[in-house]
């Protein structure tokens, strides 16, 4: 398939939040709704997934659309705020009458949208929400990424084997479903592997001062610090830890992966570890074509949220093709029966819990860049 978008005008249109279908299609477009955190705290994650999603829609339209109809992406901004997601998702379903929903990256906001999508029986595919509860909401909710019960043990194994850490401190955001869930799965696996969680400190989303928690962690004497949280707080945590003279390894998980982590954290981020859904260094042509096309269009390397956003569209469109209709019930059946579908982030099979299972990738910050370390399973 060609990754080149033949319609650069779509980029301009997309800035207004809408990707207009090219005029060669006389048929009525298929409306797909996207809700993403384009502004606000987690904007870096939402903007990446949005870029991937837009690119996939444009690529598919350039290749002739689906079922002979063009795709029309209707994008709404959740502003990274609780409450806003429910409003925009209701609007997408009732006013725009979308046939499916794509979003969000943040688990808290996917959890807000999922019951609404489920009640309206509109299939929803979250590109990158890893909290298991998201898809537990109901049969209409899917995702294209691994989940925290997978990622937690991966990081636990990484801490025990690669970092040789026995005593770990956790720094958990108590206002994020993602952070609390991931901390729990990490703790269970780490303790089962013979490690000890010496202390667990809490903070809230949007906090900027972590010196209190870090001072307590410093006094406790641990081998490593795990921050299952978002890049915003992660960067400040690492920075303040280094300011306080904490030299031990600090690692995060998949929500650390954003360019902003390195911009905000600066030199302090050097050597920090995180995990991810894919690596742009993967030599397979599937990944390299995607990376090249993305770079050409946006001028930056796609992170995992961009590629997951891209994949969420591919999975949906593959299901529309197989279902041969956009009727939501049939579409749901088709998404649920996705088997070995080759996407950018790997081979996607939707399991009975409506999750995609794939390997995780460990990444380290080196010379201000994300560098591939190793591929890892729990």
């Amino acid at each position: 398939m060609s990754f080149q978008s033949r319609f650069p005008v779509a980029l301009v249109a997309a800035l207004a939040g809408l990707t207009f279908a090219p005029s060669l299609f006389p048929q009525e477009p298929i409306k797909i709704g996207q809700f993403a955190s384009l502004t606000g705290k987690e904007a870096s994650l939402g903007q990446s997934s949005n870029k991937g999603t837009m690119m996939a829609i444009d690529d598919l339209n350039a290749a002739g659309g689906v079922l002979g109809r063009p795709l029309l992406l209707v994008t709404e901004d959740t502003q990274s705020k609780p409450g806003e997601t429910a409003t925009v998702v209701k609007k997408l379903i009732s006013r725009d009458k979308v046939i499916a929903l794509l979003g969000e990256v943040a688990s808290s906001r996917s959890l807000e949208a999922a019951p609404i999508a489920q009640a309206a029986k509109v299939p929803m595919i979250s590109p990158a929400s890893t909290n298991p509860k998201v898809t537990e909401t109901g049969a209409y909710i899917f995702r294209t990424c691994f989940i925290d019960p997978f990622q937690g043990p991966v990081m636990a194994r990484f801490a025990r084997e690669r970092l040789q850490a026995k005593r770990v401190a956790l720094l958990v955001s108590n206002s994020s479903a993602y952070s609390i869930g991931l901390a729990k799965f990490f703790r269970e696996a780490f303790v089962a592997n013979g490690g000890t969680i010496v202390l667990e400190q809490k903070y809230s989303e949007g906090d900027k001062d972590f010196k209190a928690q870090l001072t307590a962690i410093k006094a406790a004497g641990v081998d490593a610090v795990f921050n299952p949280g978002y890049y915003n707080e992660g960067a400040l945590i690492v920075r303040q830890a280094r300011d306080l003279g904490l030299t031990l390894p600090i690692f995060g998980a998949d929500s650390w992966e954003a360019e902003a982590l390195i911009q905000l954290g600066g030199k302090a981020m050097e050597g920090a570890y995180l995990c991810s859904h894919y690596s742009p260094d993967d030599p397979s042509p599937r990944v390299q074509n995607f990376v090249a096309a993305y770079k050409k269009r946006f001028g930056s390397t796609p992170d995992s949220n961009a590629s997951l956003g891209y994949d969420s569209v591919l999975v949906l469109v593959d299901a529309i093709r197989r279902a041969g209709t956009t009727e939501t019930g049939a579409l749901r059946e088709a998404i649920a029966t996705t088997r070995d579908f080759m996407a950018v982030t790997g081979k996607i099979t939707i399991d009975s819990e409506r999750n995609a299972s794939k390997n995780a990738v460990i990444i380290q910050v080196k010379n201000g860049k994300f560098e591939f370390v190793q591929s890892m399973s729990p």
């Binding site: 903007q47 108590n174 809490k202 949007g206 010196k211 209190a212 307590a216 006094a219 300011d243 306080l244």
Partner: protein
Amino acid sequence: MSEFLQQLLNGLSLGAIYALIALGYTMVYGVLRFINFAHSEVFMVGAFIGYYLGKLVPEGTLWGGLLVLAGAMIGCAILGILVERIVYRPLRGGPTINVLITAIGVSLLLQYTGQIVFGAAPRTFPPIFPSANFHLGTLTISSNQLFVIGVAVALMIGLQLIVFKTKIGTAMRAVSLNPKAAQLVGVNNNVVISFTFGLGSALAAAGGILYALNYPSIDPLMGVMPGLKAFVAAILGGIGNIPGAALGGLILGTVETFIGGSQFSTYKDAIAFAILIVILLFKPAGLLGKFTAEKV
């Protein structure tokens, strides 16, 4: 012991920033008897002015840093005066609740204008002042922390001198005591109120820069939480009372830090606010405030 000292230092440097913002709330309340909710957004604008000015001066120099600090303070003083002139002055004389609601409106207006103008994604604040870390035994002291405390104390002393030793300060106190009587003895209320807004906003700008130096990630919504806490600090110390605001800020910052570093870190904000409630139950006018019947 060293953990205790370290937390105390962390708490005082956080509290000093709350205190600087709280002074703005308290001064406006003292003179006009209303809470300027847009104050926390002035704090945010201060940090952003610092961010842009910081690109013009060499990083890590004292004169460059002071220039940025002064620039942000002047910029925000102008912003504060403009907001008062355009928005609050036409409403003066009406019910206080109108101005209060308008202040919330201005606050939201500035937040969302900020998202359009500056963009919503957080930015990294440049290290405009030279910084270093000192080690005293196991105690780690960053020069930024000392600097924050030093600048905050200097500005508070300066403010106290302005209010009690200058002519305009005397006029401010006169307007605060009785605006009509002040006017009768020849005080120009408009000038005094503009000056109060300018001064309070300049302190918020300084707070914004100091906050951004210590926590170098700035975004258009960064003022919300510190603003709320500073507001609480102003009430805690006794709203309308300048040393009270400073004391309230220091107490809130220190308490928050100690709880944040304990096993109860989950309840960090809850406990800090519970302490506020307890203090207000026993001293309804705040720690240093005098109880006066509200003239409605």
